[in-house]
Amino acid sequence: MSAPGGFRRTMRATMERQLTLAAMERMRRVYPDAPTRAPATRAGAVWTRVILPAYERIPWDVKQKAMRSAGMTARGWTPPRREPGQPWTPPTPKEPGA
């Protein structure tokens, strides 16, 4: 029996792994004292030559919009309001008995 979550779970796990390996290698260049190299990827050329470079080139706000419209972000949740300089206001009190 396949693991619950199926294809989406496998894709996400693979993507996370490959992105993390690439990020660790970049961090090693930023902090050259880091002791060892990131493990070599065994994901194949499609990942390393096509998918990862394409992902890295897309600006973050475009990625975010794409992830939201593709249903990759959580649904049924209220995003917290985070406008800079705007004071925090407490949640609206509920009507008694509501």
Binding site: M27, R28, P39, G76, W77
Partner: protein, 449 residues
């Protein structure tokens, strides 16, 4: 007739859900099923008993089963739930069907097992159940060499504590530094030094290839990409996987992390069914991407929300900014949300603000250096993550930073924050403010602020 709530799971989320539901709705009949003998203890404390920093396992218990029974809960100990039938509104345990009106699923996690030959040998230990930890602790008295596999938070704590106990510890991970999935290499460095000072041999960049049978089905060595490491025992500390089989079989939606999908009321896609703790996925506050495998305090808070709502209340749980912290060897590290490595992996752009301060007046005994690294959004300078390390006060700073990030604070806000100055407990210059001021100065120099 009163409603019946069934809670599956006796960890932090399950206990919180059951007790809060009963408190919100005292007329509700609440039954909790757990496969284990105990509830209400701190599994996170287990490594520190092994390290003999905490004297005994009994200290880890926070309450007793009798106390929950006295509070009106129906506690079904050592009882495995094998099936959920949502059409009939029944669960099956010990071949008996029991009805429910509402259900909270808190089945927690299972450990990832190494996918290499020999993973089923005796002598491989997983840290979870306190009774097993008690038995394991006696075995530790009889051995000399232990291999800890997996530089996860638990792996770091186990390696450090077994080193503190005087054992020869080899700490193995394929990744390049400790906690490499969340921690940045500059913050990992002092953790490495502290672990080594406890006698831990670090073997990062080393892949486990097999566990070697010493005869009779018991491990005698770990075969790695860097040669064979003879050992008496192995402690496996890989990833936590959501224990989702029961929920998935009942048709409850499972998300991209493998966790149960819930909304902000911890409701699943099925009417009258909630879920909480390590088995669910919740959105990250910055990205709204679902994540899971958080801390005990997250599990407890989620359980409270689920229990209150199952009891008839209407509460919400916020997306998470994940403040975290731990002690590696003797060195305290922490953070919230994203570090540089994770931000780079996800592709979130950031500017950096770094600074070093002291935890109390520098002349006061016990003062330690506190390193702060803050990540902020370019342009708006809103906080998106941080990593903090040093001695005292790391935890409080990470909690504070996660909270203010959630409320939209910026580097400007932190640069001009008020802080306590009292020589025994706080220095004149707050390390967070120092980092923010440094960051703003660097940005100004670069023409970005």
């Amino acid at each position: 007739m009163s409603e019946r709530l069934v809670v599956i799971g006796g960890g932090g989320a399950g206990i919180a859900a059951a007790t809060i539901a009963k408190r919100v709705n005292p007329d509700m009949q609440v039954t909790l099923f757990t496969e284990f003998e105990d509830v209400a203890y701190s599994p996170c404390g287990i490594p520190f008993v092994h390290g003999r920093e905490i004297e005994n396992f009994e200290s880890l218990f926070l309450s007793t089963v009798d106390r929950y029974v006295a509070d009106g809960l129906d506690m079904r100990m050592e009882t495995v739930v094998t099936d959920i039938d949502l059409d009939r509104r029944t669960i099956t345990a010990r071949n008996q069907h029991e009805g429910f009106d509402k259900l909270v699923i808190c089945t927690g996690f299972i450990w990832e097992k190494p996918d290499v030959p020999g993973a089923n040998l005796d002598g491989l230990h997983y840290v979870k159940n306190i009774r097993k930890a008690m038995e394991f602790d006696k075995i530790l008295d009889t051995v000399k060499t232990v291999v800890v596999v997996g530089a996860t938070p638990l792996g770091v704590e186990m390696a450090g504590n077994l080193g503190r106990r005087g054992l020869e510890v080899h700490f193995v991970d394929e990744g390049p530094w400790a906690l490499h999935e969340v921690l940045d290499p500059d913050v990992a460095q002092p953790v490495h030094e502290s672990l080594e000072s406890h006698g831990v041999t670090l073997r990062f960049g080393t892949r486990v290839e097999a566990f070697v049978d010493g005869g009779g089905g018991r491990v005698r060595a770990v075969q790695t990409s860097d040669g064979e490491i003879p050992c008496d025992l192995v402690v496996v500390c890989l990833h936590k996987l959501p224990n989702n089989q029961l929920a998935a079989q009942a048709g409850i939606a499972i998300g991209s992390t493998g966790g149960i999908v819930v909304d902000e009321g911890m409701r699943t896609n099925k009417e009258g069914v909630w879920a909480a703790g390590d088995v669910v996925e919740v959105p990250h506050g910055l990205t709204l991407i679902p994540i899971r495998g958080l801390t005990g305090s997250h599990a407890y808070a989620q359980g409270r929300t689920a229990g209150a709502n199952a009891g008839g209340d209407d509460r919400t749980y916020d997306p998470v900014w994940v403040p975290w912290g731990l002690v590696g060897g003797d060195y305290t590290i922490g953070g919230f949300s994203l570090g540089e490595t994770l931000a780079t992996a996800v592709g979130v752009p950031y500017v950096l603000a770094k600074g070093v301060g002291v935890s109390r007046a520098r002349y006061f005994p016990g003062a330690t250096r506190t390193h702060v690294k803050i990540l902020a959004e370019p342009g708006t300078l809103k906080l998106i993550g941080a990593q903090v390390h040093g001695g005292e006060g790391v935890k409080e700073r990470c909690d504070f930073l996660a909270f203010v990030a959630k409320r939209g604070a910026t580097l400007e806000d932190l640069a001009w924050m008020e802080n306590i100055y009292s020589p025994p407990i706080g220095a004149l210059f707050e390390p967070i403010a120092i980092a923010a001021q440094n960051g703003l100065a660097e940005l100004k120099k670069a023409g970005q602020a």
